[in-house]
Subunit: 382 residues, 2 copies
């Protein structure tokens, strides 16, 4: 496999974009990424578009072709990818593979989602899933995880709340984040319960948004970009789906990150900054452990130590994370990687991690038999 670099990115703010269609949003970031990469649209060899819910919300199909056409990209292979919350990073993984393999030299990955719509309803794993029919919509599944983590490891509600407080503090530094006003542990704990122990501020909000990335084989990338960012590893793994499984330990996270570390020749201690899938406060705690940032069961104490705040040992979600930015599903995990590109180039503005050299983006999606259904880990370096 060949080395692959990121040479251009595009990103909208996350929040309400009521005047923009999904295709508008995707087209905007595709144009931005192509422009930053300094390529002509006709130099793009292949495209991947990620979205989760436009089929069910808008009865819309083959959206990627429409999105890329906005950026002048046609006559190339285009694929539409869905993998729940990891839709974007799954598209990225395929884009990386298409270039790393030697099949194509330049690929574009675009993720977009519009969720600020009437009657979106409760997020669930699919209305034909037995779990969903029995009431196990997404927040309840994560509440079960939180309860088990608290019982098994002594994690406290206050520690869970610290994740939301930290990420909101970070979001205050990010002009593209949806919610930027600082919050307190008390506000998190005393908010309305969504699924005990998760309160409203423990759950990520909906958002519209889009993100795009142009990938280029490393041999050519400096023709276009004087400071390309290397994809050191791109890994997607699905769960084991063993039942019963331990809801508080995420096998897919561990497996995907272990493979990624091995491919990159790096370990947790080499990471400068991490963006992870904090759809719920408990998620970030479990990711600390799954990614090897701290030992199993220590996630609650790890957030409390301040290690993952900006200025700490390993800042996690300096952008504000899903908890403050919102979660436009198809865009989310592309946007995480965009954040990494900017961090490693020193372009993250007020939430820059000084001297960042190695970045990890982690995302997970959906449930099956209590296990995480899909997990992606991408490591970037400069």
């Amino acid at each position: 496999m060949r080395d692959v670099d990121i040479i251009g990115v595009g990103l909208t703010s996350f929040g309400k974009h009521l005047d923009k269609s999904l295709v508008d949003l995707g087209g905007m970031v595709a144009i931005e990424a192509v422009k930053e990469a300094g390529i002509k649209p006709s130099e793009v060899n292949i495209g991947f578009f990620s979205n989760m819910l436009a089929g069910s919300i808008f009865t819309d199909f083959t959206i990627g072709e429409n999105v890329l056409w906005q950026a002048g990209i046609s006559r190339v292979p285009v694929f539409n990818i869905e993998n729940a919350c990891t839709s974007g990073s799954s598209a990225f993984n395929l884009g990386w593979m298409s270039v790393a393999s030697g099949a194509y030299d330049i690929a574009i990955v675009v993720g977009a989602e519009k969720l600020i719509v009437p009657n979106l309803g409760m997020m669930q794993a699919g209305k034909t899933e037995l779990d969903t029919l029995e009431g196990l919509v997404v927040p309840t599944a994560f509440a079960m995880r939180a309860n088990l983590h608290m019982k098994t490891y002594g994690t406290t509600k206050e520690q869970l709340a610290m994740v939301a407080v930290k990420n909101r503090r970070h979001a205050g530094l990010n002009p593209r984040a949806q919610f930027r006003k600082p919050i307190t542990i008390e506000e998190v704990l005393n908010g309305p319960t969504i699924a005990d122990p998760l309160t409203k501020l423990s759950c990520c909000p909906n958002a519209d948004g889009a993100a795009a990335i142009v990938l280029c084989v490393s041999d050519l990338s400096r023709r276009y970009n004087s400071r390309p960012v290397r994809v050191a590893a791109s890994v997607l793994q699905t769960g084991s789906y063993e039942n019963p499984c331990n809801l508080a330990v995420w096998d897919a996270d561990r497996r995907a990150s272990r493979i990624a570390y091995e491919k990159a020749g790096l370990g947790p201690k080499d990471l400068s900054v991490v963006e992870c899938h904090d759809a719920f406060t408990i998620s970030e705690i479990c990711h600390y452990e799954g990614l090897g940032l701290c030992p199993e069961g220590e996630g609650g104490r790890f957030i409390e130590s301040g290690a993952t705040t900006l200025g700490g040992k390993i800042p996690v979600n300096p952008s504000g994370g899903l908890l403050s930015k919102g979660h436009p599903i198809g865009a989310t995990s592309v946007a995480q990687i965009v954040e990494g590109y900017r961090q490693l180039r020193g372009e993250a503005g007020d939430y820059q991690v000084e001297g960042a050299k190695v970045f990890m983006a982690e995302c997970m999606g959906a449930d099956k038999a209590g296990d995480v259904k899909t997990c992606t880990v991408n490591i970037l370096k400069i």
Copy 2:
């Protein structure tokens, strides 16, 4: 890129499967394909699942993970792919790339769709598309093509009808086809008009169905299968989307097939048998021309000559095609390739093309600016 072989396939009948869920159907063919390949489920390195409408019909997501779990496949990357009617062949193209690239040795591709549901409604390109809002649902777009083809090239309604009659005659030989009773040109012409000149029998019916393929790097394939079928070329192209475009000439078809012929080192005259996307009678006529089976404008006279019937110069859709089998969208273009595997191995039963050595599967999907939005061409050989 490495050579890639097909080592196992699975296929349901196309029609009503009211007692089976989408996951049941997909799981059945995945198990069948793994069994035929003679591999253990744990030997599958990566999976691709194609479906178009389950998001909008069933509000269902990450279906591929559930489908492959039925076949004992977990802990590997799994992707869910949508590309309208080419969803299945897009998944196949990615499966091929994942093995050809050297990234993985064994991939599984599964396509499944359930369309026999209440209130499916008229097929359209997406409810947010201007074309659709203006009334250009799928049958009307193809009726425009038929009218232009008739006006430009002198193609007759009788010639269009001959496509339906031929494919129904073929379907009589295929126990897995949905409609098998012979029909006449008069019955096609005198049926209820859907969009003039297309009558009911000029349009493919809906169906439930599923198909699966196991791909293996050629160096290893004979360990599992004594007569593997080689993927000589796998190509996906999107349209040019130039507006105005000539509705009767399909640029994406021409471009994709030209690339495929070049990659395979073969030409139209080398083909033994073709399965193409006869969603409407006019489609097959246009595909004859786009794929180079006959000169531009000659498609009507080509069907009339008998060249494309079983026993003719180049049999097209010996399985009965979409017009007789039905069109379970996510499964359709995987099933076409399954037909090719069986034809080349002499296992196509009563609709076997004697001595078949080279097979082409063509599929197209959706419209944009009058152009075909996406087109796939796969060439197999033995």
